[in-house]
Symmetry: C2
Subunit: 108 residues, 2 copies
DNA sequence: CGCTTATATAAGGCAACACTTAAAAAACCG
DNA sequence: CGGTTTTTTAAGTGTTGCCTTATATAAGCG
């Protein structure tokens, strides 16, 4: 599953927000998500799996608990993709590069 | 449709990449996408519609041509969401904020 | 050991989405 | 005007993804 697909789901984005603060147990995450989205524990667990398998999160066992943490690599990838568009806002309203084709010169 | 959902589709990401260079006609975009993804012209047009309706692209008519351009607002929103994770890579491997709960102190 | 807690997996249903083909709309051109 | 080009819209179909309930796994506890 592509990084952007993973982030396409609001539940998964919320989970990542929770993990951004620090390591969290599956149960704690589930509690918040169940409260906010009204979905079941297995549903949350499935989202955690997606996050694991797509590299957004890593897990560590502590007794019966599973402690999840953010794994930055895919987020970095997303950030890198975004890079090319940053010129559209960080340096005013003009992109860093103009259309270099024959058909240009119509910027009115 | 949420910004991240829009970016979830590889065709739409590719279209945005093309638009990042500069304004492009629907037909030119379609030609590239059809070549790269093997989908029909109407399929591309439907993706362009999604980009329009979600605010990622704006259109301008020129004769029968439709010239598409990047609209940065939603990308900016995505960039803003990503902001909270930047501490995970831009300043070394440690996030900007530690887990402030009772159960912390286990960073081994 | 049996019961409870914590978490994951399995199986099935339904809705959303991306594709297809067909047709419409609109400008251009002879 | 009639035909061609450019693009969009409409209708139908198949696949994918998320959810549910039920069940498995495994550790903790008395």
């Amino acid at each position: 599953m592509h990084a952007f697909d993973v982030l396409g789901d609001p539940v998964r984005r919320r989970i990542l927000e929770l993990l951004a603060v620090g390591e969290q147990a599956s149960g704690d995450i589930s509690a918040v998500i169940q409260d906010e989205f009204g979905i079941s524990q297995p549903a949350v667990s499935q989202h955690l799996r997606v996050l694991r398998e797509s590299g957004f999160a890593s897990v560590r066992a502590e007794g019966t608990r599973r402690l999840y943490a953010v794994d930055a690599a895919p987020l970095r990838e997303v950030d890198a993709w975004l890079e090319r568009f940053r010129g559209f806002w960080s340096s005013g309203s003009t992109p860093s590069k103009r259309n270099s084709r024959e058909e240009s010169a119509n910027a009115d």
